[in-house]
């Protein structure tokens, strides 16, 4: 199958008054349609930078990014939910459509259906301050899905949550992404999360970060993320990736 996204020799150098920092150096990878990919790497290695470049929030220094189809739409779920406190949950979810001029009765109904389907039915007309952290994150995901993107970019979507909410929500999010048939690229610090959710994991080195290794995650009995944590290959992957990350304190 043709990859939906191909990144070749991507590099990014930030410049400021004190000098330059090369965050990303010669990173290449491919993403297939409907694949779930995780990017892991040491703190500050340039993971967010890669997502920002893909979604055009940052410019690249060099390299090539190719999408298989023209006008490939990307949805970026940022680390902070950034829900607007003055908008209701529904209006928050509609903001992407508003901006792209695609808000109409049909697209609005689609968003309402998404909210209904994913446990936010009673909160549609509420304001964000009445929601728990896990719910806010779910709203942020639906806001991203509202524009019907071809590829979802997720930057540490669960990092602000407590452990239990995090486990439960990662199950939810996985389910939502699979049901909506989306391709996803997720950045995370949490190896267990990456292994339990992903089809493939890209391990980055320290800054300037390049690709250290790419793992095809093959689990026997693969099902939901929580369940995947019990697969026998899980700890083997965990060990290997942990060693790749080469963490020294």
């Amino acid at each position: 199958m043709l990859p939906i996204l191909k990144v070749d020799n991507l590099s990014k150098t930030y410049h400021d008054m004190d000098g330059s920092v090369t965050a990303v150096l010669d990173v290449s990878f491919e993403v297939k349609d409907k694949e779930f990919i995780s990017i892991v790497g040491p703190s500050g290695c340039g993971k967010s930078t890669i997502l920002s470049i893909l979604s055009n929030l940052e410019t690249k220094s060099s390299g090539k990014i190719t999408f298989s189809k023209e006008n490939c739409l990307l949805g970026y779920m940022l680390q902070k939910d950034s829900l607007f406190p003055w908008r209701t949950i529904l209006d928050n979810c509609l903001i992407g459509l508003e901006i792209n001029g695609k808000l109409n009765a049909k697209s609005k109904q689609r968003v309402i259906n998404l909210l209904n389907a994913y446990g936010l039915k009673d909160f549609i007309d509420k304001y964000p301050d009445s929601l728990s952290g896990g719910m806010r994150q779910r709203v942020a995901l639906i806001r991203t899905l509202a524009i019907d993107p071809d590829i979802l970019l997720l930057d540490e979507p669960f990092s602000a949550l407590d452990y239990q909410t995090r486990l439960a929500l990662s199950d939810d999010v996985y389910k939502i992404i699979k049901q909506e048939g989306k391709t996803a690229i997720m950045v995370t610090h949490d190896l267990a999360e990456a292994i339990s959710l992903s089809d493939r994991i890209i391990v980055l080195t320290k800054r300037p970060s390049c690709v250290k290794k790419i793992y095809d995650i093959k689990l026997t009995d693969k099902s939901t993320p929580i369940h995947n944590r019990q697969c026998k290959e899980f700890s083997i992957y965990y060990d290997k990736i942990w060693r790749d990350l080469d963490v020294h304190l």
């Binding site: 979604s55 055009n56 929030l57 970026y76 940022l78 902070k80 950034s82 607007f84 003055w86 903001i95 992407g96 508003e98 901006i99 792209n100 304001y127 524009i147």
Partner: protein, 264 residues
């Protein structure tokens, strides 16, 4: 359930009592002050020629009221304040928006804004009278000078302090600058606007009174100035009292607007 209720009742009772105590002392302070003042004046312990007295003030106000002259003065001051308040708010909004839109321009103008803002504008009073003439125009000009710059600076700072995550989010949807402005910057600055209106109304009033003290033939500032020139302290204190009342009412109107704006 019953325990909860009785406890809740106790809580409510305490709340009510606290409220009453506070209210009592608030009234007591003003009553004691007025009675004390009146007594000192009656017993000639203070010189009413210099300090006036509550009864004198009331008499003066009644006299002003009966000649209808009072309302003319109040009207002039309120009118001038409202005019400069509106103009300052509009200029402030427009200029702050332009500065937000063109960051380079903001950087270029930054030192000038700071200097003008820190300059005590009263110092320009005589100059304004020479340039604009001793008329209502120079009063408005004075008030504008005082209120506009601070409005620009406050609103611009509010705009710049817009949560950067909100802007990044909109940019991730490929929002235009105009969309970022109207969908994130403006709504997240509702509080800034209200605070600005509050500061602005006070500043405009200060400017107007200052202008009236300097040049005018009408208005509460003129009344105060005139009173002091003919050494009619009763008139001066009555005017100050009315001015306080007027400014409180203006502030109250703004806080009504605030309530409207803050309710989502």
């Amino acid at each position: 359930m019953s325990i909860y209720n009785s406890e809740h009742e106790k809580f409510l009772k305490k709340r009510k009592r606290d409220k009453r105590i506070i209210c009592f002392f608030q009234i007591a302070i003003i009553v004691v002050f007025l009675i004390g003042w009146e007594l000192l004046a009656r017993t000639k312990l203070i010189n009413t020629f210099l300090t006036s007295s509550p009864s004198n003030v009331i008499m003066t106000i009644i006299k002003l009221h009966s000649t209808h002259e009072l309302y003319n003065h109040i009207f002039v001051t309120v009118y001038e304040t409202f005019l400069s308040f509106s103009i300052a708010t509009i200029i402030g909004l427009v200029v702050a928006t332009i500065l937000w839109w063109f960051p380079k321009l903001a950087k270029i103008l930054d030192p000038y804004l700071t200097i003008i803002n820190s300059l005590p504008k009263v110092a320009l009073g005589p100059l304004i009278i020479i340039w604009v003439g001793a008329s209502i125009n120079s009063i408005i000009f004075m008030a504008l000078l005082i209120s506009t710059i601070i409005t620009i600076i406050n609103i611009y700072n509010g705009f710049m302090a817009t949560e950067s995550n909100f802007i990044t989010l909109l940019k991730s949807f490929k929002a235009l600058k105009r969309q970022i402005f109207f969908k994130a910057v403006v709504p997240s600055n509702r509080l800034t606007f209200v605070n600005c209106l509050k500061i602005n109304i006070s500043m405009s009033l200060i400017g107007v009174i200052m202008g009236e003290l300097l040049v005018s033939k009408q208005g509460l500032g003129y009344l105060i100035m005139y009173g002091s020139q003919v050494f009619n302290i009763d008139l001066v204190i009555s005017s100050v009292f009315i001015l306080g009342l007027v400014s409180y009412i203006m502030y109250y109107v703004i806080s009504l607007i605030e309530k409207k704006l803050i309710n989502k």
